[in-house]
Symmetry: C6
Subunit: 245 residues, 6 copies
C-alpha cells in the first residue's frame, strides 16, 4: 500500500460556499461543478442557505450566480434577505446575480401530467449565459417533479437534471423538502446526489436548535457529526464544535 | 463584510397582530400583505387566534377585516367569541368587520371533483372592497382543497390562492388542520407559506398545556422556541418566556 | 380594552348533561342546540355517556330525548342500562324517550354506495316531533358514512348532518369510533364539530383507568385536562380533580 | 335519583363460561344469548378458550354446543385438546357437542368475491337444531369476511351475522385475529360486538406472560384490568388478582 | 373434573427434531404429520434450522426427508452446510435425502399471475414417494404465494397447501419471511399453521443474540419464553435456560 | 455425531475483500463466485466499499474487476476515490479494471415499464471477458428494478440476475438502498442473497458513527455484532472489536 500513497493524486475540486464555518467542516466547500442537495423541513433554512451561497459567491469569490425560485418572487426574495445585509438588487444591477422566478401554472401540469424539463433547460441555459454564472440554485425540486408517480422515471429524470447541471459546469444547489422517514419526499434524491446536507430545526423541551449535517459527500472527507448553526445579522454561521473526524 | 452592513436596507414590513405577547416574539407581528398559515389540531385555537387577529386589527389598528368562515356561521361565530369580550355584531355594523360564511354543497364538489377557486376570488374580492379590508382570514383551507388528489396540482392551486391574496395587498391568515407527521393534512401548505405558526395542545401526565411555535418566518428574526399561551377573558396571551434567540 | 369588557355580552347557552362532574368541568353542560361529538375506542363508554345524557335530560330537566341506535336494538339497550337504574321502558311509555333502532341493510349501501341522508332526516324529524324532543343521540356516526371515500364529499355530508341538527334546535350527541392517530376514523369529524369529548380507557401496568378530556369547546371555557371517571351503579361520575384552568 | 334505584330492574342475563376465574371477573359469565368476540394474536389461546367454553357448557351446565371450525378438522381439534382432559369424541357421541369443519374452497370466494352468508346460516341452523345447542363458536371470523373490502358492507354483514346468532338465542363466541393497532384485522368487529375479550401473549425481557382483558361488556360491570392466565392440564385459569373495580 | 382426568386420553404425536435443546422445549419435537411454520428475518437461521431437521431425521431417526429449495440449488445447499458436518451428498446417495430445487421462472407467474399449486403437488408427491420421505421442508413459502393479492384467496390456498401436506402424513416445515409488525409477510400464515416458531437475531448495544420462541403449538404444552440459541460446528443448539412454565 | 465430524468436508470458498478488518470478521472474505448484497442509506459507504473491493482485488490479489456504475461516470468515480490513493485510471490502463457507466434513459423504462435485463447481461458478459474479470460490482440495484411493481416478478428477476452472476463464476457485490423498516427498498433482496452486509451511519447525541454488520452469510461462521468502521486515507478499516462469536 505504501508506494500507492506516495503518488500525488488529484483531489476533488471544491467551491467555497462562503458560509461561515461550513467550508471548514467540508474542508473547502461544496463539490465544484456538481450539484449539492440541501434538504430540511419548512423553515429549516434551505432558502437562506442557498441565497447566501449565491451572495457570497458573487461578493467574495467573484462568481456570478443564478437563483431559480419556484416559491418566492424576485422582489419578495430581496425583501426576505435584506435584514441579513444581502442587497440582491445591487447584485442584480451589477450582473452578479440573476433571480429567475418560475411560476408553474396548473395547466402546465395537467396537460402532460408533469413539468416539461426541456423548457426548463432552455431557460436555465439562457440565465446562466446572460451573466456567466458559476453558481446556480434551484429552490425547490419538488416543484419540478411532484407530478411524477413512477419511481423509475423519477430517478431517470432526476439524473437527467443533475447531469445537465454538471455538463454546464456550474456548482449547483438543489433544495428538497423533508419526507416521512426519508431525507426527501420521495427518498430518491439523496441517492442520486453527490453531496447531501441536512438542515434540522428540532424542538427539545420547548427549546429549538438549528443543526446541520453532511449526510454524504462523494469524494471527500468532511465532518460527519451534527453541527449547531445560527441565523443572525450576517446570515448563517455553522459552529464546527467537534473536531474533524 | 463590514461595509455591507453599513448600508441601511429595507426591513420586512409587519402588521401587528394585537395578540398579547405574539408581536414581541415575532418582532412586530405577521408579514404585512402576505398570508400566514396557522396550523394545529381540532381545538388548538386556530379560529380564536384568527378572529382575535381581525378584531384587534379593527379595534386597535383601524384595519377593517374579512373573516371567511367555512365551519361556523356568522352568528355562531359571534356567539362563540362573545365571552372573550369580542362584539362581532358591533364591528359588522360599523363596517369594521365582514363575516362571510361559505357553505360548500356536496354538489359543488361532485361536478368537477373540486371547489371552484375563481368563484371564491370574486366573492373575496367583493368582501374586501365592501369594507376596505386590510386583513383577511380563511378558516380553514381544507374546505377548499380536500377534493384535490394530485399533489402537483394542489401545489399549483395553493400558490394561486396565496398569490391572489398577496396581489390584493391584504395581510392574511389561513388556517390548516394538522396531518399525520406533517404540520398540515397534505404536508404542502407549510412549504408554500411565508410564515407558519403551529398551535399545540398537548397532554402530559393528564395535564394539558397550550403552546405556540413559529415554525417559519421568511425574512425575519423571531423567537424559535415553543411558547406557552393561555385563552382567557381577553383572548389569547402568549408568554414569551424565553428570551429572543 | 377596558371599556370593551364592561359591556355585558351574551354567553354561549348550555344544556346540563346531568352527568355527575361533567357540568362542572364544562361550566354548565354541552352547547345548547348544537351537536357534540363523543369519541373513543370500543368499550370506552360512548353509548353509556349518550344514554345517560338522554335519561338525565328526561328525568332531571324535563327534556324528552331521541336515541337513534345503529348498534343496539331498543330492548337490548334497555337491558344494557337497567343495572345502572335507567328504566328506559318507563321513559318510553311516558313519552320522555324514543329509541329508534336503524338497521342498515347491505342492499341500502350497495345501490348507491352510501347511506341516504334524506331518508334519515325524515325519520329523525318524525322521531323528534313525536315526543317534542330537546335532546338527540346518534350512536355511532360511522354507520352513516363509512361508505363514503371522497374526503371532500364526506366533509360536506358531515356538515349537512350537523347543520340539520342545529336547524332542529336540539342538543345533540354524535358518537364516533377512534381512528389511527386521529380522534375519529376519518379524522374529519373533530374539525367540523363544535364540541368534542374524548373518552379513554388506557391500561398502564395491567391496571386500566377511564379518562375524559374536552378536546374542543367552541365558545366556552372548560377544564382542559384529562379527568378520571367511573362507571358505577348510578352511571358515569367524572372527577374534576384538577381545578378549572 | 333515589326513588329510581329502589325499583328492581332486570339484570343482564349471563351464561357461565365455566372457565376458572373468568366468571368471577365477568360477574357471572358471558352475555347470555349474545355473541362475544375473543381476539388475540396467533397462539394467544382463542381456540382453546372457545373450546373450553363449549366443553364446560356441555359437562357442567348441560348446554350442548356447536363448534364451527374453519382452521382445524374435527379430529385434529379433538387431538389438540385431548391433553387438557377434554374428550371431544365422547361429547360428540353423547350429542353434547357437534364440531362442524367448514372448508372454504378458493372457488367459493372467486365466484362472487366473498363467502355466501346464507349458506352458512342454513348450515349453522341445522347444526344447532341437531343437538339443541345453547352455545356456539365460530373460529375464526376472518375466514368469512376477508374477501370484503368495502367497510360499509363489511359492517352490515357483521351485524347480519351477529343478529342471526342473537335471533337463534344461542350464546356465541366469535374469534378474531389481531390487527395493526386494532383489536381485530379490520378494526370494526370490536365496535359491533356486545362483549369483547382480548387475549395477549407478550414477551418482556425474554419471559412471556399470558393476559386477558375484558375490553367491553355492554350492560355489565366487570373487572377492567389485565388479568394473567395460565393454560395447564385443566385448561385455562384466569387469576382475578386485582379486586373488582 | 376429577373423574375426567383419570381417563387416559391420546396425546399429540410428535416427531423429534433432533435439534439440540428444542425437543426439550417442545416436550418431544414438532407435531407429527403436521406442518410447522418457521419464520424470521433474512439470516435468522430458517434454512439451517430446516436442513438440520431433515439431516437429524435421516441420521438419528431413520426418517428420509425431502428439502424443497426455492432459493438455493442442491449443490449450493450442500456447500453451505458442509462446515456444520452435514454431508448432504452422502445422504442423497443413500436415498435418505432428496433436494428438489424449484426455479420459478418469471413467465410462470406472468401467465396466470400466480404459481400453479397443482404442478407443485405432483412434484412433491413424486419426491416424497421416491425415497419414502417422512419429513419435508419448503423453503420459503413467499416464493409460492407472493403473486396473490387477494387475502381471502391467499388464505384458501395456504390451507390447501397445508392440508395436502397433512394428507401425505409427512411432518413438514415451511419457512416464512418476517413482515412489518407481523410474523410473516402477509400476517396470515401464522394463523393457519398448527405450530409456529420465530427465529430472531436482534442487535442490542452493538451485540447480536439469536433467540427462538414457540409462538404457537396447537395441542401441546411447551416452553413459551424466548430461548437463546447458537449456531456452531454441530448446527443449532437451543438453550432451554428457563424452566418449562 | 462424533464420527460425522471426523470426515473432512469441503469448506465454503471465499474471496478476500482486501478491506482492512473485514476478512477477519468474515473468516476469509466474501463468498467466492457468489453475489454479496451491501446495503445502507445514502452516504453509508456502499460505493466506497465496492470500489475498494475491486481495487484491492486488482492490486493485492491480481483479480481484475468490473465496476458497473449507474450513478457515477467513470471519471467522476476516479475523482471521488483519488484522495484515498486509488488510481483508477492506472488500473484501467493496465486492464485490471473496467468501469462501465450505464445511463438508463427514461425512454428505456417507459416503453416496457422496466429495464431490459437481457441487454444488461450482454453488456456485463462483454465487460467481464474483456479483462478476464474475477470480481464485479453493480452499484446500485434500484436502478435496474425500481420499475417493477409486482413482487413475485421482482423476486424472479432478482434471482435471474443473481443466478447469471453465479454462472459467470465472478465474485459479485450488488449495492442496495435502505428501505423503511427493511434492509432494502423492497425488502426482498436480502432474502434472495447469499451474503448481506449492512453499512450504517447513525447519529447519537449529535455524534455520528459508522458501523458494519454481517446480516447473513450462508454457509459460513462470521462475527455477528455491529463493528465500527472508519473511512480514512487508505480506505475503509473495520475494527473487529468484539471477538468472533
Ligand atoms: N475520497 C474520499 N475521501 C474520504 N471520504 C470519502 C471519500 N469518498 C467518500 N467518502 C466518504 O464516504 C461516504 C460514503 O460515500 P459513498 O460510498 O459514496 O456512499 P454510498 O454509496 O453509500 O451513498 C461519503 O459521504 C464520505 O463521507
Ligand atoms: N431575513 C431574515 N432574518 C433573520 N432570520 C431569517 C430571515 N429570513 C429567514 N430567517 C429565518 O430562517 C428561517 C428559514 O428560512 P428559509 O430559508 O426560508 O427556510 P426554508 O427555505 O427551509 O423553508 C426562517 O423561518 C427564519 O427563522
Ligand atoms: N369564547 C371562549 N371562551 C373561552 N375559551 C374559548 C372560547 N372559544 C374557544 N375557546 C377555547 O379555545 C379552544 C379552541 O377553539 P378554536 O379556536 O375553535 O379551535 P380550532 O379552530 O383550532 O379548532 C376551545 O376548545 C376552547 O377551549
Ligand atoms: N349496565 C352497565 N353496568 C355497568 N357497567 C356497564 C354497563 N354498561 C356498560 N358498562 C361498562 O361501560 C363500558 C362501555 O360501554 P359502552 O358505552 O357500550 O361503550 P362504547 O359505546 O364506547 O363502545 C362497558 O364495556 C362496561 O365496562
Ligand atoms: N393441548 C394443549 N395443552 C397445552 N397447551 C396447549 C394445548 N393446546 C394449545 N395449547 C397452548 O395454547 C396456545 C394457544 O392455542 P390456540 O388456542 O390454538 O391459539 P389461537 O387459537 O389463539 O391461535 C398454544 O400455542 C399452546 O401454547
Ligand atoms: N455453514 C455454516 N456455518 C456456520 N454458520 C452458518 C453456516 N450457514 C449459515 N450459518 C449462519 O446462519 C445464518 C443463517 O443462515 P440461514 O439459515 O441461511 O438463514 P435464513 O434462511 O433465515 O435466511 C447465517 O447468516 C450464518 O450466520
Ligand atoms: Mg424555502
Ligand atoms: Mg376552527
Ligand atoms: Mg357503543
Ligand atoms: Mg385458533
Ligand atoms: Mg433461507
Ligand atoms: Mg453510492
Amino acid at each position: 500500500m505504501a508506494q500507492l500513497r506516495k503518488v500525488i493524486l488529484p483531489q476533488l475540486p471544491k467551491t467555497p460556499s462562503g458560509i461561515s464555518g461550513l467550508d471548514e467542516i467540508t474542508q473547502g466547500g461544496l463539490p465544484k461543478g456538481r450539484p449539492t442537495l440541501i434538504c430540511g423541513e419548512a423553515g429549516s433554512g434551505k432558502t437562506l442557505f442557498s441565497i447566501e451561497f449565491i451572495v457570497r459567491g458573487a461578493l467574495n469569490y467573484n462568481e456570478p450566480g443564478v437563483f431559480v425560485a419556484f416559491e418566492e418572487k424576485a422582489d419578495e426574495l430581496a425583501t426576505n434577505v435584506a435584514s441579513l445585509g444581502f442587497d440582491l438588487k445591487k447584485l442584480i444591477d451589477t450582473k452578479k446575480l440573476r433571480v429567475d422566478y418560475i411560476h408553474i401554472e396548473r395547466a402546465e401540469i395537467e396537460e402532460t401530467g408533469e413539468y416539461n424539463l426541456e423548457g426548463l433547460f432552455i431557460r436555465l441555459d439562457y440565465a446562466i449565459k446572460s451573466i456567466g454564472a458559476k453558481r446556480i440554485v434551484l429552490d425547490t425540486i419538488e416543484n419540478l417533479f411532484s407530478g411524477l408517480s413512477n419511481k423509475a422515471i423519477l430517478r431517470a429524470e432526476l439524473r437527467r437534471l443533475f447531469q445537465w447541471l454538471k455538463d454546464k459546469g456550474v456548482t449547483a444547489i438543489i433544495t428538497g423538502e423533508k419526507g416521512d422517514g426519508h431525507l426527501t419526499r420521495e427518498g430518491l434524491e439523496e441517492y442520486v446526489s453527490d453531496c447531501v446536507i441536512l438542515l434540522d430545526h428540532r424542538v427539545n423541551n420547548q427549546i429549538s436548535t438549528r443543526r446541520l449535517r453532511i449526510i454524504k459527500y462523494r469524494g471527500s472527507f468532511h465532518g460527519t457529526n451534527e453541527y449547531p448553526f445560527l441565523i443572525d445579522e450576517e446570515g448563517i454561521s455553522v459552529l464546527p464544535v467537534t473536531s474533524l473526524k
